[in-house]
Amino acid sequence: MLEIKNLHASVFDTPILKGINLSVNAGEVHAIMGPNGSGKSTLSNVIAGRDGYDITEGSIDYLGKDLSELEADERACEGIFLAFQYPVEIPGVSNMAMLKAAINSMRKYRGEDEISAGDFLKLIREKAALVEMKQEFLKRSVNEGFSGGEKKRNEILQMAMLEPKLALLDETDSGLDIDALKIVSDGVNALRAPDRAMVVVTHYQRLLDHIVPDYVHVLADGKIVKSGDKSLALELEEKGYNWIEGLQKAS
């Protein structure tokens, strides 16, 4: 589904990613771990197509398409979803209005008719229950006045609504207490599907207790320095990121 080859990328002209190779297939969950500043968040932003995050070398192939040719909204319509580390507040725009516009935009992209008001309501009620979100939140402005946990839950709700093929979860556990972490992970797990891939970016192993990955990659200084299965995360937890520095030097 996602084929990243020798990816070099800069953030506002500062090189961050320095040759990433990664292959993600449908149904798989990949975890990207690494110390602060290793380029984890950059990777998800590059895939999602954020302005200022430029590919300087290498390629990202997604379902046979060269991603660099697509705008952020087109990538979203192609099924890429980014759960933001810091979800943005948009005053005056209700959650409902935004989600409806997003769904219809994607339907239009696929040549489908707009969703009916009734179907939309039904869908959003069902999905809101999944992340235990109260109805009143849906009517409030996007993320405005939400607590850290509410914002993250809102991200997962949106993911559930938009049903992406590739979900990128950028530090979804940051700022969550243990209860919120559970609700969010349960939401994510419920969305695991054979035709859906997930890339979970995280600093800590604890999220991976809840969202168990098929593969773990360790990122340091813009490169994947080690890959393995879920046990790698445990090893990393035990040995600490200093261990990575050793690996880097060795490589």
Binding site: F12, C77, V88, I90, G92, A101, L162
Partner: protein, 487 residues
């Protein structure tokens, strides 16, 4: 994350969006009787004679004309335009086939068609069931709908030219009681030459059974439009009033200098909404309406309330400051405004809240959007007089900038002479947030849709003050006005 590079990139993309069209820009081919350009005492007398006015009106006009002759055009606003030649404007124009206002059959079909095309059908069965319309075409009112329904409730809603005939005592009592003829240059000019407009009187204790609205249309070339609106809400009454404005697309600038006066007696409430969409000129600033308007209301009695809501997307130049004099104790004044300037449009708009009574409160919410080469200024005064104990004011003026050649300016004046007052003024200016744009695009919205969503969110606090049907209209208008502006 913000960065200059990304900004430039984004600006470039956004500028490529389509150009706006002014769909109300058509001309109605209709035979009119129009005065030759020029203003003199004789012209003032002729206007008065045309209207068959009683002596007191002629005297009023002549007094205003003499005051105007001695006044100077104000130059303090943040607007830039060539000097207006007031002798080059025609001060009166009316369709030749004079409509009889009681019967639709006698209205020139071309006029009816004009209003149809503008989305304002004048046949009652086609209209929004709960809105009465007074349609003003150039200098005269051509049709006022639902008059019977309204008169059953005791509400007077008619062209002011008729009110002068039928209710001279009310006109005499209230005309210029809020905006004196010498108030300012354009008010004096309007007082001398105004030709028509709407008159509303809501009797004691009556809640007006429907929305009232006036639809202003400038059609004739080189003609100024000088309408006069007077709304009186007697004790304990309520009225919601809406005005809309459009004009044909012409290369010449045209002058619109209106005066609106509102009087709210004890416990009365007036809600006045404007969707102003005069022709704004083309992208090079050619043509467009010069909109110099004086709007003021007085909360005369205790617990009176006046609320102004305006959505200003049209006009080459907008100069207007809908104001409230809070004379009665516990009276309330509100001003909600969205002003958008695109291409070479310029707006200098805001409000004055004059607190005189005790426990008075006012709220000001102003949202300015500048795009292209548009210049947008908020100018406001909040004044707390000595006797205005416990006055409250909250003002919020936000500006959104789209493109690096536009301007947003904020000039609030706060004058407080009473220590029990509590005032808070906040203003922010910024561009559309890239984070918000990216977030929405990541959710699949294209750039135009994302911008529209953010801008409408920005204006939400104002739109929700509009009557339902017009809020939707205003949102659409904003989208159309912003087309090609984004960035």
């Amino acid at each position: 994350m913000t960065d200059a590079l990304a900004v430039q990139e984004q600006n470039k993309d956004l500028k490529e969006l389509v150009k706006r069209e002014y769909k109300e820009g058509f001309v109605t081919e209709i035979e009119s009787e129009t005065f030759e350009p020029g203003l003199s005492e004789d012209v003032v007398r002729r206007i008065s004679a045309k209207k068959n006015e009683p002596e007191f009106m002629l005297e009023y006009r002549l007094k205003a004309f003499r005051v105007w002759q001695k006044m100077k055009e104000p130059d303090w606003a943040h607007i830039d335009y060539p000097k207006i030649d007031f002798q080059d404007i025609a001060y009166y124009s009316e369709p030749k086939q004079k409509p009889k206002l009681d019967s639709l059959d006698e209205v020139d079909p071309k006029l009816l068609e004009t209003y149809e095309r503008l989305g304002i059908p004048l046949e009652e069965q086609k209209m929004l069931a709960n809105v009465a319309v007074d349609a003003v075409f150039d200098s005269v009112s051509v049709r006022t709908t639902f008059r019977e329904t309204l008169s059953e409730a005791g509400v007077i809603f008619m062209p002011i030219s008729e009110a002068v005939q039928e209710h001279p005592e009310l006109v005499k009592q209230y005309l210029s009681s809020v905006v004196p003829v010498q108030d300012n240059y354009y008010a004096a000019l309007n007082s001398a030459v105004f030709s028509d407009g709407s008159f509303v009187y809501i009797p004691k204790g009556v809640r007006c059974p429907m929305e009232l609205s006036t639809y202003f249309r400038i059609n004739e070339m080189n003609t100024g439009q000088f309408e006069r609106t007077l709304i009186i809400a007697d004790e304990g009454s309520y009225v919601s009033y809406l005005e809309g404005c459009t004009a044909p697309q012409r290369d010449e600038n045209q002058l619109h200098a209106a005066v609106v006066e509102l009087v709210a007696h004890k416990d009365a409430e007036i809600k006045y909404s404007t969707v102003q969409n005069w022709y704004p000129g083309d992208e090079n600033g050619k043509g467009g309406i010069y909109n110099f308007v004086t709007k003021r209301g007085i909360c005369k009695g205790d617990h009176a309330k006046i609320s102004w809501t305006q959505v200003e997307t049209g006009s080459a130049i907008t100069w207007k400051y809908p104001s409230v004099v809070l004379q009665g104790d516990n009276s309330v004044g509100e001003f909600y405004s969205v002003a958008l300037t695109h291409n070479k449009q310029q707006a200098d708009t805001g409000t004055k809240m004059i607190h005189m009574g005790k426990n008075t409160s006012s709220t000001i919410i102003s949202k300015g959007i500048s795009a292209g080469h548009g210049q947008n200024a908020y100018r406001g005064l909040v004044k707390i007089m000595k006797g205005a104990d416990n006055a409250r004011n909250f003002s919020q003026c936000d500006s959104l900038l789209m493109g690096d050649r536009c301007g947003a300016h904020t000039y609030p004046y706060v004058e407080v002479q009473n220590p029990s007052a509590n005032l808070e003024h906040e203003a922010t200016t910024s561009k559309i947030s890239e984070d918000q744009l990216f977030y929405l695009m990541q959710r699949g919205l294209n750039e135009e849709a994302a911008v529209s969503m953010i801008v409408n969110g920005f204006c939400k606090e104002v739109f929700r003050e509009l009557p339902m049907e017009f809020a939707v209209e205003a949102q659409k208008l904003l989208d159309i006005s912003l087309e090609g502006a984004v960035g």
